[in-house]
Amino acid sequence: MNILALDDERLILDDMLAELRKVFDEDEIVGFETAESAMNYASDLQAHGEKLDYAFLDINLRGITGLEFAKKLKDVQHDTKIVFCTAYSEYAYDAYKMHASGYLLKPVEAAQIVETLDAIARDWRTSESTAPKDIRVQTFGNFDVFIDNKQVSFQREKAKELFAYLIDRNGAAITTGEIVSILWEDRPSDKTTLNQAHTVISSLKKTLKELGAGHIIVKTWNHIAVDTTKIKCDVYDFYKGDAIAVNSYRGEYMAQYSWAEMTNADLMEKSRR
């Protein structure tokens, strides 16, 4: 991910960078004091086929306004999400007119940034009318997912494993760092593995969305969870005491995943009672 911050007052820029570092990885963020150097950076990224994901822009810049800069930036990096950071309220309407993604009043704090990112990530287009009737998850034996009775084929094995882990977590949200520790047990959580985790999340969301089941994944800025109310799942039924589910358990739970052993031990104990 690439993030740019632009403010021509050094001290304020430093404060903004400090807050951004609480939210993003440090090596993803680059700060600029002039519009020209910021534009050069955005153009360089474009020339190397890289996206600029977010631009946090002051509005009252010397020689150009942040609004004008944002327009020029969009010409170079069309998909960049623009977040204005200003001490003034008077540009709020103009920011809407130019399809900005956020408008933060200074001093900018990490919590405001996270709220804005969550709002950007929120997808209102997930409608119940497009939801398939039947999403069934099988955890006893090997892990598999069926949508309207058809077995789901995941594009990546890791995406399937991530979904299995989300099911195992029973609706609890997990961070990208936790995903790395589960999917790549022997590797550290660094830029490479975090990027790979983001790729796996995207792949999972894409597969489910294509099958009309995108709404079962609840994604905020840095957390992901599964909406357990939208899924029929044998292990959830087991814990509710459903006789069919209890009888269908044969001592194996998500047999292909080693991290599932903890839950399997619990299931074994409960099934003996």
């Binding site: 709020a92 309407y93 809407y96 399809h99 408008y103 209102w124 287009r125 997930t126 119940e128």
Partner: protein, 114 residues
């Protein structure tokens, strides 16, 4: 998709209804001239998008937004106003779009794509 329109002035509500219907002919569009009735509807039916007046009798577009989000956290709300006065509030409450009345079809279309 269910699109809710909330506007106390019935004449303005009718104009808004015709504008949104022209842009979204396949969606279910429901109009309310009263915020309480709008909330009662949203309690029984998922509302995906809302166009609400910033100034409502005994309420406001922002207060309505909070209540709609309690019912569906992903609801996308657009605020309609006479001027720019509430635009900063709108950003602070993560309102999708802020439109100055009268609203055009192009602005409605824009709000849905944003």
């Amino acid at each position: 998709m269910v699109i809710m329109l909330v506007q106390n002035n019935k004449k303005e509500l009718r104009k808004l209804m015709s504008c949104v219907s022209a842009v979204c002919p396949r969606d279910l569009i429901v109009g309310f001239d009263d915020a309480d009735n709008a909330i009662s509807y949203a309690e029984n039916r998922r509302v995906d998008m809302c166009f609400a007046d910033a100034m409502l009798d005994n309420s406001s577009g922002i207060a309505l937004t909070r209540e709609l989000r309690d019912l569906n956290e992903n609801v996308c709300v657009n605020l309609l106003a006479d001027d720019k006065e509430f635009a900063v509030d709108a950003w602070q409450h993560h309102i999708n779009n802020y439109l100055i009345k009268p609203v055009t079809k192009a602005e409605v279309r824009d709000s849905i794509i944003v």
